[in-house]
Each structure stands twice: as C-alpha cells, then as structure tokens.
Subunit: 277 residues, 2 copies
Amino acid sequence: MAGSELTNIKSPRVKAARRLTKRAFRDRDRSFLAEGPQAVREALALDDVVVELFTTAEAELRHAEIVFAARAAGIPVLRTSGEVMAELAQTVTPQGLLAVCRFVHVPLERAVTADARLVAVLAHVRDPGNAGTVLRSADAAGADSVIFTDASVDPYNGKCVRASAGSLFHLPVATGAPVAQAVAKLKESGLRVLAADGAGKQTLDDVDLSGPTAWIFGNEAWGLPEELLRLADDVVRVPIYGRAESLNLATAAAVCLYASARFQRAGSPSAPGPRLP
Amino acid sequence: MAGSELTNIKSPRVKAARRLTKRAFRDRDRSFLAEGPQAVREALALDDVVVELFTTAEAELRHAEIVFAARAAGIPVLRTSGEVMAELAQTVTPQGLLAVCRFVHVPLERAVTADARLVAVLAHVRDPGNAGTVLRSADAAGADSVIFTDASVDPYNGKCVRASAGSLFHLPVATGAPVAQAVAKLKESGLRVLAADGAGKQTLDDVDLSGPTAWIFGNEAWGLPEELLRLADDVVRVPIYGRAESLNLATAAAVCLYASARFQRAGSPSAPGPRLP
C-alpha cells in the first residue's frame, strides 16, 4: 500500500474533523461525520456530499470498492493509523471508514410537497438513537420525507446518523422549523396530521389511513404537549393489548408508519392489498 | 426520617447486590437487579419476587407508596447514601430505587401452552437493549409469552430489564432452551412458527396471521441462520417500501407482533376489526 499515513491526532485535519462531534462546530462548518461502510457508501452515492474520507489501511483493503469510488469522484482519501481513527470515531470498535459530509437537509418547502403521501415529524424527540431509528423506519415504510423540528435532537448527531443506517442519505430531511410551522405547511399541502400519543381516544385500528398522512412523534418520556395535540387533526394511540404501559417511541413510530404504508398501498390498484382473516 | 443509612460501598449487602451486575453471580444467586420506580413497582406486584429494596432518602419521599408497599409486604428496605446508590445503579442518573429480585422465568412448558395465540422467540438477539424492547413490544401486543433461547442475551441483564420497562414482570418469560427445542414445543402446541428474516419470500402483507403464531427474531447484524429458517413453517419479511436496507431488529419485531395482534383481534367477534380502505 502506497501513500503516507496520518499518525498524529493533533494534525490540523484530524482536529478539524474531530470537532464535528460537537453541534456548534457542525453548524459552523455545515458538515458532519458519517461512520462505517454503510453510511459512507450511501453518502458517496449522492453528488457533492462527501468532503473527505478517512480510512485505515485495513479498511482500505476490506472495503476497496468504497475507497475506489471516493477516489474516482475526486474526494481526498486520508489514510490514518488505528489510533487516529479511534480518536475520530465515536464507536467502541471503529470500522475504519469515516467521511466528513456536507449537510444534506432541505428546506421545509422541499420536504413537504403537494404530492407527499407519508411524512414523519419528530416533534420533541431528544434521544439521538431513537431519532435515527425513526428515520430508518420512515425510509423503510416508504415515507416521502422526515421533519426534525427545532425542539428535536440534531439529525447530524453521530448516534442519530449511525442509528439511521444510511437513511439520512435516502430521503429528504428538513430540520430546525418550529413544529407549528411544519404542521401548517403539512396541512396546506393536503396531508392529514396525526399526533401519535397515548392520550389519543382513537386507536390505530380505528382510523382510516388511506389518505396522505403526516405522523407527529413526541418525547420519549412525556409524549406530546397539549398545544401540539390541539394543532393535529387527530390524536391516535397504538393500542396496548397486554399489560405494558406504553411502547418505546421508535417502535411505536414504526408501527404507525407501517400501518399507514399498508393502508395506502392496499388502496392503490398497483399494490397487493392485505389478505384479510 | 428515621433509620440509619448505608454509606459504605464496601458493606457486605451493597457488595452482594453490586455483583448481580455480572451474569455469573446472577446465575449463582438466581437473583437480579431491577432499577427505577416503574420496574420496582411491577416487581412488587408479584408475590415473593423482591428480596430487598435499596432506596435513597430522597426517593423514599418521592415514591413513598412504593416503599410503603415493600414494607407492608415484609421486604427489607435499606436506605443508602447517594454515593452507594450510584455504585449500585447502572444508570447515569439513578432514580434512587433498586430492588434485588428473584428470577421470574418459567420452564418452557409453562411459557408455551396449548391455548397460546402469540409468542415471541428471541433466537440470537445479542443486544440487551433490543431484547428488552422486543419484550416490551410483545407485552404491548398482547403476546402470551416470550422465549429467550440459549443463544440470546440474558433477560436479567440490566439494560434488558430497563428496556423492558416492567414487561419482564408482566408475562411468562422462558430462558435458556435451545432454539430447536423451543420450535418443537411451539409446533407441538399448535402454533405456526414464522421466522422474521429479510430473506423471506413472503412479506407480512402476504400471510394470513389469524391463527396461533410464534415469531422468531434473529440477530441484529446477520438475521437467522439457515438451519433455523428451515425449522420454521415459513420465513416472512417486513416489506421495505423505501430505500432502507433493513429495519432495526426491535422495530421489525414490533411491526410483526402488531400485525399478528391486529389480525387475531379482527378475527375475534369481541374485538373491532381494522377499517379497510
């Protein structure tokens, strides 16, 4: 393997990347870190997102096609020692690939278009792992976009990026809008706005989900605030059939988003409907 | 507030409880730790489960009804300093209540009965947070029991207990059986055994889930092994409508378990069916 290796954790490029673990620096540089082969591969699939790629010699052998794609796109590839990678990575066992990426979010107007059928809104989600998991589930369920409101965690938080498993690069993500503004935009675009909350009088089994729908998901501990419940067209809860008090936020979101996906696709003539008992 | 306070982290009772954070000691003592007001409340609702309760003076005021219930049941309540609680607790911000509990799992034969309608099997789940979240979702979806096979994480792992949010105390949990033995028992009891795996030819939308069903969930990274897929009656995948490669294990499990719950309840005359598009 040719080329020199960054071995000094104090080198300016390592330090510049390392500080992107802090939100203030991410916002200033409008850049964030994407770690691991899956995230890096998805980031490289987009034009003009990856600014530079850090890799270890070992990862360069194991994921040769990723490193090749980066070089082919003219992206600087910086080989680092294992020690430097450990300093940059936020995981216990780094996989040896880490990309500095430009922000990928879009304005609210581009995330919510008139033909949107399914949108997920993270209203007060504070746990980055939960937020990333909801983003991944929204992508899997075929959502058109995901909105992180200003009271939610930063979508570029390392844990959120990792939990999204590449989905941050798959669908339009808007961030930073106040929830009232997001709800207004969704309603204006013809979506029915459903707040997912244990306080809902209707359950997921009671509502017709065939039309364009936006789901609002709240806080892990206390759900959604009263004023937000009033903004929504309806408040819907996932039915609890057993003795659990509630569901984990990310699992509740997945159940809601998949219920919408199933309904919408059953209503479309091109997709097979659910077979009924 | 009367009574003395344990202030020495080297006191024998503190040390005896502390070592239950390790599996070998849990297995030897057949005991585990349940942390926080919710878990302790659920544990106290069962007869003969809580062996002793550690509490801080502050928590004793905040959760007076829990401490009262413990004393009323003749359970020793040990007041500790904040420092000792921090030593015992496995969370960053301990809530000041921690119970030493007797094992609550049941033999496989009691977890899988002839009238079981919905059972979740954790076949190779290694992440304790995921395992606890599946347990919580299974409880919420009204499952009859949950089986942790011998290749899965210990259900008494602290992270698993916390992620289950009390559900470990709600429904029969079996642990330690080889997966082949669990599958044989489930089939013998009249349940259809479905392996949830991205390799499935059928999707969740294609299968009739109205009958008694056991779901097998695999490993976070590599799914289920070939020999286990062969043991199952069918292999079913959650459909991916967007661009995500897969779903998080715990969210996929919630979607499967809720699909079963909805089908089974729609088939029962006492429950409202899903309204169709």
